[in-house]
Assembly symmetry: C2
Homo-oligomer: 344 residues x 2
């Protein structure tokens, strides 16, 4: 066996799990060699999931482990997050019908059964909202002090006739954000720090497959790229769009929807809502001619009422995000690592 | 939402992750309500994985999180274990061609990159042996002290035309054990306690899909049940065979292959090799007329040289295992929980 390239640092840091550049580097240096050639979308694509050709359809597969802390937060908990995160990754590939989910739970010895039942009930509720079912599971227990509470892995499989990738933008295309930015990350951080905010500050965690179905029904093949801005937030997802499609992206700052509670928390904590995780939002890239049609369809969905066109793909500055703040333009750097560890 | 049944105890214990009766009770009380009706094998079947009908084939899906401690042990490590465990669960459903594996890693802050590369290399090696590829992944990092090192989840998907279940035994059927019992569990425990044993004591962790293919080629539809005796060991797997098929099983103790190192460790530690995990063995139930043919095919495979017919399904004592020790017969109880936490 030939050893892989030696990563730059000697030890893994929190930033390596935080969804920014550091994480991508770790994945590229360590894990990508596990992938092999596949008939479809494999590991090397670093998309939201994998897609394998099955006859005239695509089998989409996606996995996520969830370590959010606190496990219960305003608007949701680790169970709802796990189901929604996986349903949404499938949806971002164009796969809005979930064949099945697996659920593997690792618990710390002494974990309260009452909490476990709450997590289970949230999973069941989210499954109902998504029209999804858990088909296989696993349970492990680690000793007291060996794990901080609970880790939940969910993997999802689904079939779709049309695959939507995250590299399809061309100059001129529009990008729709389906609602307010940064709610999940700031709600979790506020809960962690026991911050009291005036007004609502709740996670947006929700299954997006219904909303995505509406968008695809309205936009058809003019929907050309999708990504859910989880770790690393809107900034990180737009960077992936831009670098994979080799376009620049002009982000019109004032058009980004923000909720009052999230704005307040962002100000107090000094954290940019564009850089933190969302768990119930999608970025949808569409051909310009279809933008209004898709936007209307998204807004007609209960989870998309505050959707807006927030960005345009441009030929200049490929791979970069130009943020127009309304007062001037600047380059929006990708977070090195999300400022919030254990955000999902 | 109607709350589920309240589990008997208030807190989760190590035994709830150990593969015995306690774990099954936890799963039944807490998680089974997440499953719904599926066209195939869903959560309620508690088989090695799920199976969904896709045209004239079955899509098999299985998941496992791995928490083995120590993560590096004689004969393997957590990376090899994760790949093999999932490949083997697919194989036990009759699915010997792996479409793809997902790999989700949770790391403790400060985890050594050198160790991560070793784990990655082991995964790659095991993938090569199994003819499998990692198609999707995820990386999370928890803070220092929030996780004891590393947790690896692997989920596998595959297609098969014929599904093999674990409930197919009829009185008169024979059960083949494909090699020595208890090697993985005792090797890990000996490593954990820094026990020095004369002779070899190494984990048997290996991908079994090639061996299972040989068995199925030889036995066809006369192969009627398969299970890999992981947590809870041969005893637990036979109990599942017996209770699901409503037969008794007569286990011929002296025919169970044992390696000298494992026997020595079992004696020193006072642990029955029938009750601890294997990670490279299968129990294969076959119609009596095919037993010799399947046994010969298994023995011809490098991983099956020490295979033996060890048990017979009987009409008496449905759901129970009768152990013939050679000196007399006794009921072999299922472990309440594996004596070894974090064995896989």
């Amino acid at each position: 066996m030939t050893p892989g390239p030696t990563p730059s640092g000697e030890r893994v840091g929190l930033k390596h799990g935080a969804g920014g550049r550091a994480m991508r580097t770790l994945i590229e240096e360590v894990f990508l060699t596990l992938g092999g050639p596949v008939d479809g979308v494999g590991l090397a694509a670093l998309d939201d999931g994998a897609a394998l050709r099955l006859g005239d359809q695509w089998l989409v597969v996606t996995t996520d482990s969830h370590v959010v802390q606190p496990a219960f937060f305003p608007g949701g908990d680790i169970g709802r997050l796990a189901i929604c995160g996986t349903v949404n990754d499938l949806a971002m590939m164009g796969c809005t019908e979930v064949l099945g989910l697996t659920c593997a739970v690792v618990l710390e010895e002494g974990y309260r059964r009452e909490d476990l039942l709450r997590v289970r009930d949230s999973m069941r509720q989210a499954c109902q909202e998504a029209g999804a079912t858990v088909i296989a599971g696993d349970t492990k227990v680690m000793g007291k002090g060996e794990l901080d509470g609970i880790v939940v892995n969910t993997t999802g499989v689904g079939l779709t006739r049309r695959l939507v990738r995250d590299d399809g933008l061309r100059p001129g295309d529009k990008v729709i954000l389906t609602g307010t930015a940064g709610d999940h990350g700031l709600a979790v951080l506020a809960a962690r720090r026991d911050l009291r905010i005036e007004g609502d500050l709740v996670s947006d965690v929700a299954p997006l497959n219904g909303l995505v179905r509406s968008a695809l029904d309205a936009g058809g093949t003019e929907v050309v790229a999708m990504k859910d801005p989880t770790r690393g937030g809107v900034a990180s997802a737009l960077h992936e769009f831009a670098s994979k499609a080799r376009v620049g992206i002009l982000l019109d700052g004032p058009t980004v929807p923000l909720s009052p509670g999230t704005m307040a928390a962002a100000e107090i904590l000094g954290i940019d809502p564009l850089l933190v995780a969302n768990e119930g939002k999608a970025l949808i890239g569409v051909r310009a001619g279809a933008a209004e049609r898709v936007l209307a369809a998204v807004r007609a969905h209960p989870l998309g009422r505050r959707a807006a066109v927030v960005a345009t793909a441009i030929p200049e500055r490929p791979g970069q995000i130009v943020l127009d703040t309304g007062l001037g333009k600047r380059i929006l750097a990708e977070a090195e690592g999300d400022p919030l560890p254990r955000i999902c």
